[in-house]
């Protein structure tokens, strides 16, 4: 998709201090209840299932993902299901230099922003990442560095307007480093800490920042993993997320049982934990 250069002229400043509303776009929700939702990593299993519920209630959606073919399939589905507006941009978000351009284009296309759902992430190859820094770096780039770049822009945009919900998909894997998958875990730990901190800074500016921590969910990402048939059903997770995002809950564990499981896991003393096979 090509960008209209005219649109980019209205790109908001990255100033993080309070700037009075200067543009014509609406800061509050659309009067007819349709929300303007930007989804980053929109072809992931959790993002797609969540978007279907938003589409069914007529929201406006802008989807960003890596593959144009996949985005087209998802976009077709969402418009059939009732989304009042769907547009897409195919871009590799690992390239942070593109972020400002992509985000300002999306915001202009939506005519403002009510919700951002950040669902990019890779599981990576845990064993490979133990020995190969290149693999570890790839995981950290996608799951952490790129998201920090996106959130820097988005937090500025929303704080300036005192409006918006930034819902960020982290993971229960970030709650404690485990031998089986600590590179992925650390990318999510960093992300959770960043998002928590961001919330503490801009919540008072009227921006909801949500840390979402799913347990294992049945999606393409977890396919073939041991016990994957017992993982949470993606449609149930999506329904929980839609409710939580409506409310702007600070920290969401889905399914909720994972708040208790991780509460236990984080309290196991390290001298015991290091001898476990988790």
């Amino acid at each position: 998709m090509s960008f209209d250069p005219k649109l980019q002229k209205s790109e908001p400043q990255l100033a993080l201090r309070y700037v009075p509303e200067s543009e014509g776009e609406a800061a509050s929700s659309q009067p007819d209840g349709q929300r303007r939702i930007l989804v980053l990593g929109a072809t992931s299993g959790i993002a797609e299932a969540t978007c279907r519920l938003w589409a069914a209630r007529g929201d406006k959606l802008f989807l960003v993902g890596r593959s144009a073919d996949k985005l087209n399939a998802v976009a077709a589905d969402l418009s059939v299901r009732g989304a009042s507006f769907v547009d897409t941009t195919a871009v590799d978000l690992d390239d942070c230099s593109r972020h400002a351009e992509v985000l300002s284009h999306a915001v202009n296309a939506l005519g403002g922003l009510d919700v951002v759902f950040i669902a990019l992430g890779v599981l990576g190859d845990a064993t490979e990442a133990e020995h190969s820094f290149a693999e570890a770096q790839k995981i950290l780039q996608t799951n952490f560095v790129s998201v920090v770049s996106l959130l820097t822009w988005l937090a500025g945009y929303c704080a300036q307007r005192h409006h918006g919900t930034l819902a960020v998909l982290s993971s229960v894997a970030g709650d404690r480093g485990r031998k089986s998958n600590y590179v992925y875990g650390s990318s999510k730990a960093g992300l959770s800490a960043y998002v928590d901190g961001l919330r503490n800074r801009i919540d008072r500016e009227g921006v909801s920042v949500m840390t979402i921590k799913p347990g294992p969910v049945q999606t393409a990402m977890t396919e073939g993993m041991k016990g994957s048939s017992k993982f949470a059903d993606v449609e149930t997770v999506a329904a929980t997320l839609v409710r939580a995002i409506d409310k702007g809950t600070d920290v969401v564990y889905v399914p909720g049982i994972w708040r208790i499981i991780m509460g236990v896991i984080t309290h196991i003393p390290e001298f015991v934990f290091k001898n476990l096979n988790l």
């Binding site: 996949k70 399939a73 589905d77 059939v80 299901r81 396919e223």
Partner: protein
Amino acid sequence: MKPPFESWGRYPSYDATLKPLHWQGDFPAVLEGAHSGALAVGMGRSYGDVCLLNEGTLLPTTSMNRLLGFDAETGLLTAEAGITLAQILDFAVPRGYFLPVTPGTKYVTLGGAIANDIHGKNHHLAGTFGNHVTQFELVRSDGEQMHCSRTDNPDYYAATIGGLGLTGVITWAQLRLKPIVSRRIDFQGIQFHGIDEFLSLTQQAAHIEYTVSWIDVTSTGKNFMRGVFMQGDHSQVPAALKPSPKPKLVFPFELPGFALNRYTVGAFNTLYFHKQMKQRVSALQDYEPFFYPLDIAQHWNRMYGKRGLLQFQYVIPWEHAREGTIACLQEVAKSGLASFLAVLKVFGEVESPGLMSFPKPGITLALDFPIKPEKSFALFDRLASMTQEFGGRLYPAKDARMTAPQFQAFYPQWEKLARYKDPALTSGFWERVVGADGGAR
């Protein structure tokens, strides 16, 4: 150990590698590195081995379930092939549309419905599912994408409808839905005794959209072939078109193998026959219990225990339909084996576009039995030979037993299907009834 993918009858039990398809572009790339044959599969609701492949690569399609287009004026719905009929109903019913043909479960995929050219209670008026599939895309293992309809690649269109998934992978399809104004069905249940009462009820109901009969196959003597004739039309009185609630019941565990025997099933059948106290009852009924009475409990096949169940379904053309049906049901009664779900229906004249479609004008009988190798296999083999003698044929989607000579006699057009078959695709069924090299010719 539980196999990675089971058919609904849970027999036979095969090991296989699963490589799910998530996107239309995943096939044939997904086959890279796979040395065995492959087969696209859906919900695993066919009963035998048409959705299985021993030591092969199965390609589950249920993640490929996106809606691609819907025209609210014409009811034309386009969707990826892994969408289930339940998901289509969730979308279509609130918009005033219904499936043009539906089987007795809504948990089958669009692709599976085409590959087995399924039929429903309205076969006598609407034909098979394939009659309502206007177009689809078929992707071959060499990467060729074929658009198929009655005018575009019509030979592949015909070979794929009822083609048992062997002609390629269906990525998306378009289906013509039909308008409804209510979820409700104007329902009548009528008790009958014997085949002649069944046939005369069928004749009187020729204009009614849905007809099907349950019969009690455990009773003999004066109760032989007693049953309940069920008929219904979509209610024409406008009413709320809400989506269905999600099913909550799950059949929680496997019953032991002896639980379903002629006495328990006989008692059930007597109760079921007399459930309606009057000879004729009328009611307005939601479509869920009318079409999908068993979908209320997930995994109901566990009722049949670990060994699973065998389904048997024939169609016998009119010439021998009456005598053939009586003879087969006498054989069943004589065997002492009990069948819960004995279903009798008359197929109509509407011709399917599918090359290998199962229905033809005549009487169809469907039975199911818990698997007890010596007894049920022997009965099945007798019923299969009788079907052949009466000029009928069996339904591949419900078969785990027919022999290669029987299949080739039932479906002499199989050699034509073999010509359209994709060389990389095969199934347990195909290898059983044609041979592993059968498709290569």
